[in-house]
Point group: C2
Chain length 453, copies 2
């Protein structure tokens, strides 16, 4: 048969890559736990009724659907088949799909388990998601999300905690980031103030281009989107908004004085900034009005994290959604969450070469195999080392010395133990340090000591 392959947009992970990925997952998991988040997992497959209609029309198309088992054509007429209405037909052929993100399954989880959960519920979840997106650099069809959410509490302290988590995670990684913060209510307030409530997206997209195209072009773009000159005039202080976060907030307070919602957004941000100041953040924190991520979804804070030293999209994002579980019939449960993109963080750490050198924990020592007699002699010693928690291998067959040493080399094993006639007679081991080349004859206890350190 021909050379096997894997589906496009998916990846195999080698032991070296797994070590790096585990470093990422472990770091994020440790911080989540430190902040009191508790892990759940949900099935890879959800009923399509749970997933459909939650990610927009485009999202529905990107869902991987699973063909029903058994006679999947049962109940479908010939007419329906030859009609070739693929969207409709898919609903008959498939009742399950692979999860598209962790948020909708979490909302479903909260509704199904609401009687077992103590609210506020701080949950984290680290699992793969699947999207039938066109694969490209940095975009995969199977990738991992690392989500932390708090549901059942309106308090802004939750936003503060999530921002502290982002600060802590990237500090541990050694990645310099800018954490950007916005509030949906401020965006609403701006649109309301200039009388263009339905143009929020156009406005934020245009403002975002200020650095690249300059004020004149931004104003031209706004006009081209049908925003009247008077409204554009009113927008000027917002387009040109600069200074510290506090200065920006002061400007906004003036501009938005006619919008109750806008002022509420400003107040929320003020409280968040204030609390964060008290604790002290190490990352740069910036009020960024161009942050319009998930605009139709978030109702309060919008969070995004950008790496400062690598050109890549946002590596973490989140925000508050006031009615997470309403789609499943449970009203009034507010949530706020943050999602770390493990695959992009993987790329950033690779580019900046920031993996700690000891993140890859290999076998510590390899016992060379000289044959039956020696094998029998060293097996209890190998066992003893393992009982001392030293990752130990014994080469499985008496291959040529060169082959065994080269095996140790390729697998980055730090030490090799050689036991031949002499060693057996003297009840000693020859321990070779594969990095320095140094060789020593030791008794077992000394050997355990060296290898444990």
């Amino acid at each position: 048969m021909s050379q096997p392959s894997i589906p496009k947009g998916t990846r195999d992970f080698s032991p070296e890559e797994m070590a790096k990925r585990n470093y990422i997952f472990d770091t994020i998991r440790e911080v989540f736990k430190l902040y009191g988040f508790r892990q759940i997992e949900t099935p890879s497959m959800e009923n399509l009724s749970t997933l459909m209609g939650k990610y927009g029309e485009e999202g529905d198309k990107l869902l991987f659907k699973i063909l029903n088992s058994g006679d999947y054509l049962k109940g479908i007429t010939d007419e329906e088949l030859t009609d070739r209405n693929t969207n409709k037909l898919a609903g008959s052929l498939c009742e399950k799909g692979l999860r598209y993100d962790l948020t909708v399954p979490f909302a479903r989880y909260v509704v199904m388990h609401r009687n077992e959960i103590t609210f506020p519920f701080r949950r984290y979840q680290i699992q793969p998601v699947w999207r039938a997106d066109r694969p490209q650099k940095g975009r995969y069809r199977e990738f991992f999300q690392c989500d932390a959410d708090i549901v059942g509490s309106d308090s802004l302290l939750n936003e503060v905690e999530l921002l502290l988590i982002a600060d802590e995670v990237f500090n541990r990684f050694g990645i310099r980031v800018s954490i950007k913060l916005n509030n949906r209510k401020i965006l609403s307030g701006i649109a309301e103030t200039i009388g263009e409530l339905d143009k929020i997206v156009d406005i934020t997209v245009a403002i975002d281009k200020l650095d690249k195209i300059g004020l004149e072009k931004v104003n031209e773009e706004l006009a081209s989107k049908g925003i009247p000159q008077k409204a554009i005039d009113q927008l000027q202080p917002i387009i040109l908004l600069q200074g510290t976060n506090q200065e920006k907030l002061e400007t906004l307070k003036t501009v938005l004085q006619g919008s109750e919602k806008g002022l509420q957004g400003v107040q929320e941000l003020e409280l968040i900034f204030n609390r964060l100041n008290v604790v002290g953040m190490r990352s740069e924190l910036e009020l960024d009005l161009t942050l319009a991520r998930g605009l139709n979804y978030y109702t309060g804070a919008i969070i995004e994290v950008k790496a400062l030293d690598v050109q890549i999209g946002s590596i973490t994002g989140g925000g508050r959604y006031d009615d997470l579980t309403g789609i499943f019939g449970l009203k009034g449960v507010s949530g706020v969450g943050i999602s770390f993109g493990a695959d992009r963080i993987f790329d950033v750490l690779n580019q900046l070469d920031l993996y700690p050198k000891d993140s890859i924990q290999n076998t510590k020592v390899l016992f060379v195999n000289f044959g039956d007699k020696e094998e029998e002699y060293i097996l209890p010693i190998v066992n003893k080392l393992r009982q001392s928690n030293i990752a130990t291998e014994i080469y499985p067959e008496p291959a040529k010395m060169k082959k065994q040493m080269s095996y140790a080399d390729s697998n980055k094993i730090s030490y090799v133990v050689i036991v031949g006639e002499d060693e057996m007679r003297e009840n000693k081991l020859t321990l070779k340090n594969m990095i320095t080349g140094e060789q020593k004859q030791l008794i077992i206890e000394e050997c355990v000591k060296v290898l444990s350190s």
Copy 2:
């Protein structure tokens, strides 16, 4: 909308269940690493061309197939649709499927990456697999396998290592097990000796019933399967095989003296038993001729682990397959592997209540929230505790004291810190032990000390 649900045969895992599952995965992973195995991961989806035909006709039916994206009817004629040949049509509608086990994807991995791999390759893999089986107690449609395999070495030392791993894993779990061992070559030898090569399965199935139905009925069953009286007579010493493993091997040597293959199987087992004796196993190890697991698949050793104190199928299994990668065009690569069934082990640990009490690591301390002023005051203290690696929460809003205490209770948080007017004035914290009810006023450093211990 109606109450949401999840697909049958799948499960949500609560924080308590996740803690238990992580304990299982972590224990197995630690032992794998201790024995020098290196982790890989493969995609959840494989091309159907990789999966089909590898698990028998029944297995093909149990594969979850993924509907192609876009116009999945393209290239399919109306006739093909209305023909309703569901098997054939599935091949046109779907080109991908969810992995059914970890072995076939691993074989595919080895072939694709053979130039990057140093053989012998000791790999482990802990990932979910999916089967469209009829769900029932203890059988799920999504479940985790924990596999360790060594490929590219014929040495029996590999079998020895895998048996030591099984011994170590179940010793760590505190589960009393019987590790059963057989060899495909011995089964072949028996069938060859009595001239009934194609009846191996019937013979092992009948022998397996000795305890339940007695010798007479076993012989009747053999006769009913078309095995001649002479052959049944020859089988008597094997059906009645008893004694120590060594005694069994001696009997087999006599019975199988005419079969080269059979004797080779005996020799292999002798070497494995001998090596294991040198190291010393804690679990019971038994030569069990009725072990016929994966008969068409394994070519040498067959391994199975049974829990002694719980009625449940095998909780771990494995064996040697001499031509793992041949199905993908790479000949002559032998492998031997073992697979731990995490979901059954989960059930056994639950039934025997063997989870270590500290396997569930919760938040250590909750700060009660009295309002704005206190919140601002305690945030830096909370931060300090977290910097000292103490899992800390602050209740997100100034709810009633009773509600906050009950939150700590439900989440099994060991300590609560109370900071009100008095504590703020005196620069102290009141630390309450939620188990003993004991309460103390401490300065921060003392508090860190208590909580770190």
